[in-house]
Point group: C2
Chain length 258, copies 2
Amino acid sequence: MITSTANQKVKELVQLQKKSRARNQAGVFTVEGIRMVREIPKDRLEKLYMTEEFYNKCKCELPERCIEMVSPQVFSYISDTKTPQGVLAVVRRRRWSEKEIYGDGQAHILVLDNLQDPGNLGTIFRTAEAAGVTGLILSSDCVDIYNPKTIRSTMGAVFRMPFIYVENLPDAIAELKKTGVKVFASHLEGKNAYDRESYLGKTAFLIGNEGNGLRREVADCADVWIRIPMAGSAESLNAAVAASVLMFEVSRQRRQQE
Amino acid sequence: MITSTANQKVKELVQLQKKSRARNQAGVFTVEGIRMVREIPKDRLEKLYMTEEFYNKCKCELPERCIEMVSPQVFSYISDTKTPQGVLAVVRRRRWSEKEIYGDGQAHILVLDNLQDPGNLGTIFRTAEAAGVTGLILSSDCVDIYNPKTIRSTMGAVFRMPFIYVENLPDAIAELKKTGVKVFASHLEGKNAYDRESYLGKTAFLIGNEGNGLRREVADCADVWIRIPMAGSAESLNAAVAASVLMFEVSRQRRQQE
């Protein structure tokens, strides 16, 4: 059992928890809590750090080969949460292919431009899975999906939703259009209400930054600018909410057609 | 200018920022930042605390009668944010009537049962305004809408959206039904997909707690249980996302009928 915070593994873990660069170099990320740990694909689990108390409660459902015990003090030290459950996993990353992002049926893709809020990004992953999105494309300056707060708010969708970070969003959007995907920019200056469009064909939505919306050069790549009509004095929607309304409109239209 | 954190007004402000009880007793709440301050209805503004730097930038647009200057050190001390803008307002609360919650046209009401996340509640207020919700009814054990984090995420909707906290949600729902409001429970066990129902008449949605959903005794008050169909391995949606999808379905149906 590791009982000292000066232990080399503990030091490395803290780096993984706090620094995106350390996570990138190692090609892994961390998740905490039994609900998230249960969802890890078995072939991607590298290591499980846990307290004795947690081990005694849940051992039967965990693969022994990966387990490393740590003292409660050490666990508090490595944990990103205020009231840790006593289990933290190191998970290997996966590279998704373009084909996986397009999905088996009609493509339903979200393109995220410079999204900055970790909670928003996590919520978008979680909602995307529920709404039948086939994959996500993120600009390289979006917040890190492997941020522990983001990971938590995906509720496990991060293990299952195909996604890719790209350096050049306009290029990636051009690729989408070449394969017949119709690209809709969610924009406050959009002319058409979102629900007047058909999303039965291959569809992608461009979603912009929380404060500034889509960058002009990204919005200009879209086939159509759409808006979500708003009542009252509301000036805009939270980015995750706007994305959710659009994703579930696709889902609604496709279900009605079945 | 107030330059000491030992000043009595400063002590009271910190209580207002941190303690819901202090806010309740005083019948006020606090908001920070120029964007939120601009949205305060004039007759409800009690006091504006600001730094000299902020005053020199924005004085022309602020009512002199309410202004109290504080030093940058004192401002950092009273502020709830990491990088304060230098303006904090104390705002009087408003009691909304039942009539205001029902609105002028067809009622479109959200009923929130034991919602616990401050950000979720703020986002729901913000989205509700944009979706044309007429008012919100909250169980008394919901998170405090006057929590500074919640206030911030309403983006000003808290000043404009009629809402009320009630001790007994089943009684409040019974009242809704008496006036002809159809009550839909958003429930994972709902039989009908939400988009197969009509929301052209008076409508209310029951939205449950983030972890546990609706309490049984609350869900049982509904006329209909509905669900949002989910793809993949997704088990549930974030409460604010679920509420948003439902609210914008009402908005969509009512616009299409126009």
